[in-house]
């Protein structure tokens, strides 16, 4: 009578496979990195690399520099982003849809392209600088160094704060604002006493994200930093530089220090945000009011001013790409010459971008859906471990991922350096945490009873997953995937560590032509990249039927 049908659960197999993948491609490289930082070339334990770093102000100052510029950039983005979100969601702004599109676009472009464009605008021969000098006779300070990094990072990252806080404000019930007004708290006072506290969990999340991005950003300081040395560049130099490079142990030690710092910041943020944890759900969202008189003018100037400055570099690049060139120099007039050249010299890079990007994307989606399912529906110790490991890359700077992978896979049994596979692996590792989070969020909204209904109707577990769960998640998966796609194609810090001539991508090609001073081709390639981003975003909005983007 008793029938024991204990088939091996398919999900156990999936669990173990994913666990192994994480161990091989994430844990092993990272532990290897740690080991290399603690043992010298003869295999003896040593603290010399760490001593070297902390012993010399020269190195130690890079840490301070990075920290300073990241903290300041975070503060500036909050000062710009939070009021912008407030004004945008409280008042009628003319052309608000376009405004939001542009803000999203700003956040999506590769940071180093922004840096490059600002050099063209405010650098030694910057067009604005030259114009002001000839008109007013004032010599503006150049953009290079600390100020430049701060400017570029702030303009690049404030859209994240804006998008996050806008999302939170959509969850504030209008009655809360009315109640506060009713009790005599309005205007600026209400902004600080009611709205900011209500958005606090989100603001903290955005703060963390902005800090992590700023701290790990590689392209911006590389281009615009000049004498101002920051961490990610130092890691890269320690590893690759022709003069000081090849000191692998030292590069690993700096990487370890970088991870320790991001971990501390991460935990600090978790700790603070736990104190602000609450949930909101608006039955009656805030209605936008029409501002009156001078205040109305003021908020329009504020919104369009900020967004205009942030978008200016992109416009300028677009303009550059259509200028007539002769050799490397621009000559008067307009032509499509730069594009012709770009396709000729970088056609392969464009192809690579799509092959590597799409390859990574497919794996990311596949893994993200599986991990999300394991984490939400099959909670156990192994899957808990997968959950924790899947979030690790969140705190590992891109250049560290790159170096860790090279160190791990440049020797037998598994030689992957120089292949497309290693670039795909790197992108998967870096982007997976974000896609997992969005898949988890989607899955959490699907009541488990729907799956139970399918099982009670005789559907097998595997069939239920593919026929019920995945289709129901598909909207969330696709929109998450498109955002991943955008970040993948604009990625620089990891790719620059791993690429060879054969596996060069669009961002790398742009970087190469920028550093060679070939502005026409660089501008044309950057425009192609931006165009791809715009198209991807348009598809995203079509699919997700929303104008909200959360990274």
């Amino acid at each position: 009578m008793m029938k024991k049908t204990k088939k091996p659960d398919l999900w156990v197999v999936v669990s173990i496979a994913i666990l192994c993948a994480y161990l091989i491609f994430l844990m092993y490289p990272m532990l290897n990195l740690l080991q290399q930082s603690l043992y010298n070339k003869d295999g003896a334990f040593t603290m010399e690399y760490f001593q070297k770093f902390f012993g010399r102000t020269y190195y130690f100052s890079t840490l301070w520099n990075s920290f300073k510029v990241s903290v300041l950039a975070t503060i500036v983005t909050l000062i710009i982003g939070v009021p912008l979100a407030y004004v945008y969601n409280m008042y009628e702004i003319k052309g608000k849809t376009v405004l939001q599109m542009v803000i999203i676009l700003c956040s999506m472009s590769a940071p180093f392209i922004g840096a490059y464009s600002w050099i063209l605008l405010l650098g030694n021969n910057g067009i604005i600088r030259k114009t002001i000098k000839s008109l007013l006779g004032i010599t503006m300070p150049t953009i290079y160094g600390f100020n430049g990094i701060l400017l570029v990072l702030s303009l690049q990252l404030f859209p994240l704060v804006f998008l996050y806080v806008s999302g939170a404000m959509k969850n504030i019930d209008n009655s809360l604002l009315e109640a506060s007004e009713n009790m005599g708290c309005k205007g600026v006072k209400r902004f600080f006493k009611v709205i900011v506290p209500l958005c606090m969990p989100t603001i903290l999340a955005a703060t963390l994200l902005v800090f992590m991005r700023a701290f790990a950003d590689f392209g911006t300081p590389l281009l615009i930093g000049q004498g101002y040395r920051t961490f990610p560049v130092e890691i890269y130099n320690a590893f690759f530089s022709e003069t000081t490079g090849g000191d692998y142990g030292f590069a690993c030690a700096i990487s370890v220090i970088a991870i320790v710092i991001t971990t501390v910041v991460f935990l600090l943020q978790k700790w603070t945000s736990n104190k602000f944890a609450f949930t909101m759900n608006a039955l009656h969202p805030i209605e936008r009011k029409k501002a009156k008189g001078p205040f109305n003018v003021l908020i329009h100037v504020f919104c369009y001013g900020i967004v205009g400055i942030a978008f200016m570099p992109q416009i300028y690049i677009l303009y550059e790409s259509f200028r007539k060139t002769s050799g490397k120099a621009f000559v008067p007039g307009y032509s499509l010459n730069s594009y012709r050249e770009a396709f000729k010299v970088a056609g392969n890079a464009i192809k690579n971008t799509f092959v590597i990007g799409l390859g990574a994307l497919v794996i990311i989606i596949f893994l993200a859906v599986l991990v999300a399912y394991l984490v939400i529906r099959r909670r156990n110790k192994v899957n808990g471990l997968i959950d924790i490991m899947s979030m690790l890359p969140y705190i590992i700077p891109g250049s560290v991922v790159g170096i860790a992978l090279i160190m791990a896979f440049n020797k037998k049994p598994l030689i992957l350096t120089g292949t497309m596979i290693i670039m795909i692996i790197a992108l998967v590792i870096r982007r997976l945490p974000y896609t997992i989070r969005s898949s988890v969020a989607t899955l959490q909204q699907i009541p488990i009873t729907v799956e139970e209904a399918a099982i009670s109707l005789g559907s097998s577990k595997a069939k239920t997953f593919f026929k019920i769960t995945v289709p129901m998640m598909s909207n969330g998966i696709i929109s998450g995937a498109i955002l991943s796609w955008v970040t993948i194609i604009t990625e620089l810090s990891t790719a620059i560590c791993l690429y060879t001539v054969r596996t060069q991508t669009l961002t790398l090609a742009i970087y190469t032509y920028v550093s060679r001073g070939n502005d026409g081709i660089a501008a044309a390639l950057a425009t192609i990249l931006s165009l791809t981003t715009v198209v991807s975003l348009a598809v995203f909005m079509k699919v997700s039927k929303s104008k909200d983007v959360t990274l």
Partner: protein
């Protein structure tokens, strides 16, 4: 084919928390059986153990003679209707209803005819090609029912299926559910916390509290002769008053705190001894008198609510107990607040429990689950 369900000594634990311990229950073939209890009493847990979505930590579950403890939910041949309906949002109404048959590898013609038949039965044929998000709550409920029934399950399990509907639709749908169950003749286990709904649909009800079954019986039995004080207060409204049972020879007399005496001929012989008791009097079991010469429990009216058919009076007794009295509305004026009243007792209707409320002292209690 319909089945009877036997549950023997069921145990459910979450970690070290025992939710259900040693629960036994027999559900007859083809009956409409309801698990009723306050939230957190374990009724949904028990239902999900029958369905196979909750693990079983102890005891045996049988469908007829087949032990189902280790059987996969997909093989138990159950139809299930969920609280949130769990309609597949990415499938049309027709695909939702056909889903179970497709899994059973039924032939194309069979799928088409059976699906049509049940959509017709549930009056949803006209929406066959609509997507679920364009259906109202009541229509989704009908889809869920059709989907559960089309596979000809042995048992239909329903987990608070009406709780998401508005009051009017709830009354309408419970008639639909009752009729369908009657037409199909299937064993039905139904979970609800709404005692009126339970009484309206059920053949038998199991009243549950804190993981235990308090009483199993027909709605009438449970309402009129509750097995214990919990059932008396959970089903319908009851005024609980303290009193004494005085026994002299064969004569048992109930004495209220203010000295009002009522002879009780229906006390069970084994309980005929003088003792402290709890008396449960439903609001409609009082006879309200304003004439002070008529004997009764003395009380003073605090407030009143006129509800059309009936008028509810809220009063307090001399000992300070708050009580509610229902009287059919009179054509003359409502008795003003502050009026002293005498409350006669319809002695054949009231219930008397031992001092702790654990069991009923009167004859006529039916509890199918009594050990």
């Amino acid at each position: 084919m319909s089945v009877c369900i036997r549950i023997k000594d069921a145990v459910k634990k979450y970690g070290n928390n025992t939710i259900i311990s040693d629960l036994s229950l027999d559900i007859k073939e083809g009956e409409f059986f309801t698990l009723l209890g306050p939230s957190g009493c374990g009724k949904t847990t028990l239902l999900r153990m029958i369905a196979g979505f909750n693990s079983i930590e102890g005891g045996d579950f049988y469908f007829n003679d087949t032990r189902i403890n280790d059987m996969d939910p997909a093989q138990r041949n159950i139809g299930m209707v969920f609280q949130n309906y769990a309609i597949f949002p990415h499938m049309s109404v027709r695909d939702n209803v056909a889903f179970g048959l497709k899994n059973r590898k039924a032939s194309k013609e069979e799928i088409a005819t059976e699906t049509d038949k049940f959509m017709e039965l549930m009056h949803i044929k006209e929406y066959a090609d609509r997507m679920p998000d364009r259906l109202s709550g009541g229509q989704q409920q009908r889809v869920a029912l059709a989907r559960a029934l089309v596979i000809k399950p042995d048992v239909l399990l329903m987990d608070e299926p009406l709780s998401n509907l508005d009051a009017k639709l709830r009354v309408e749908m419970r008639t639909v559910i009752k009729e369908i169950q009657h037409t199909v003749g299937i064993t039905n286990v139904y979970v609800t916390h709404d005692q009126e709904e339970a009484m309206a649909v059920s053949d038998r009800i199991a009243v549950m509290n804190q993981g235990d079954i308090q009483q199993v019986g027909a709605p009438k039995d449970i309402y009129q002769r509750p097995a214990n004080l919990f059932v008396a207060t959970f089903i319908g409204r009851s005024n609980i008053l303290s009193g004494k049972l005085e026994v002299e020879g064969d004569k048992a007399t109930l004495v209220f705190q203010d000295g009002h005496r009522v002879e009780m001929p229906n006390v069970l012989p084994q309980y005929r001894q003088s003792q402290e008791v709890k008396v449960s009097v439903r609001p409609e079991e009082f006879v309200l008198e304003t004439d002070p010469t008529v004997p009764g429990v003395k009380a003073v009216i605090d407030s009143s609510v006129f509800l059309g058919l009936n008028t509810h009076y809220f009063a307090h007794t001399e000992s300070g107990d708050k009580i509610e009295v229902v009287q059919e509305s009179q054509i003359d004026s409502i008795i003003p607040d502050g009026t002293e009243i005498h409350l006669g007792i319809k002695r054949e209707k009231i219930n008397i429990f031992e001092a702790e409320g654990k069991y009923n002292l009167l004859e006529g209690v039916r509890n199918d689950n009594a050990v």
